[in-house]
Symmetry: C2
Subunit: 130 residues, 2 copies
DNA sequence: CTCGCCGTTGAACATATGTTGAAGTCAAGC
DNA sequence: GCTTGACTTCAACATATGTTCAACGGCGAG
């Protein structure tokens, strides 16, 4: 059996332009993200890309992830575990991974800045009066 | 009067290679960072660059900042307010700015991920059974 | 004084992240 | 059936972040 939900989620109907519009990036970027595994497409008989609902969302999430320092390759890696049509739980896992990435890097920043501050002579001038 | 500390902090004695060694980047990167305002140099009579103690530290901090999504231009901007030989208080201010940058972006990530999760039909499939 | 080692500059190359343009294909409407 | 518009691929260009290379200059040791 195939439920309405399954039809809706599995069928890939969005064109490049539509995904671009939905996600707020240029069509060229949509093709770029497909090429690099951030999104995936099926092809029509006449070789056109068709994306499902999740494509625009993946791109939006990818743009956010880029802002906290992840590369496209890393983002594609995080998305690699996603099913074609991710559910709320799948997205929650991705969100967790991304936030942990971001927080780990911020923690690293904090810690290393603290190191530099405490480690005499690493960043600080030796405070010698006379 | 010129104190020992002032002599030590103001004099720029490090060569490109030395700063590269201290900071753990290539000599070419040191020149790149100078060109883009992350570090500054004075020139010897024979035109060679000389950096002060803070150069290696600026580079280390810059590398950390890059990891949380800041560009070289942004980092140069953050460092722009620093005196030639920053003291502990100057570094503390820089650290605060960088951590706030990182946390703001992580907060943005969190918030937008939450938006996407809550905003029905943005990322989630409509959960319809039958 | 010559040699070798740094340093200098500028250009070319390399990778990441895209954008733009040219040339061709396909489907839909007049 | 011809035009139009959206799609395709591929190549060139653009920016950010560096690295490598070639050609050249100065300085200290032998």
């Amino acid at each position: 059996m195939t439920t309405t939900a399954e039809i809706a989620t599995v069928s890939a109907t969005r064109t490049v332009s539509e995904v671009a519009g939905e996600s707020g990036v240029a069509a060229s970027a949509v093709r770029f993200y497909e090429k690099h595994g951030v999104i995936t497409a099926v092809r029509t008989p006449s070789n056109q890309r068709r994306f499902n609902d999740s494509a625009a969302c993946r791109i939006k999430v990818a743009k956010l992830a880029q802002r906290v320092g992840l590369t496209v390759r890393e983002i594609a890696g995080v998305f690699a575990g996603l099913p074609p049509s991710p559910g709320p739980d799948d997205w929650a896992r991705v969100a967790t991974v991304l936030v942990e990435h971001a927080e780990a890097r911020t923690a690293e920043l904090r810690a290393r800045l603290a190191d530099l501050r405490s480690g005499t002579k690493l960043c600080e001038v030796v405070e010698q009066i006379d």
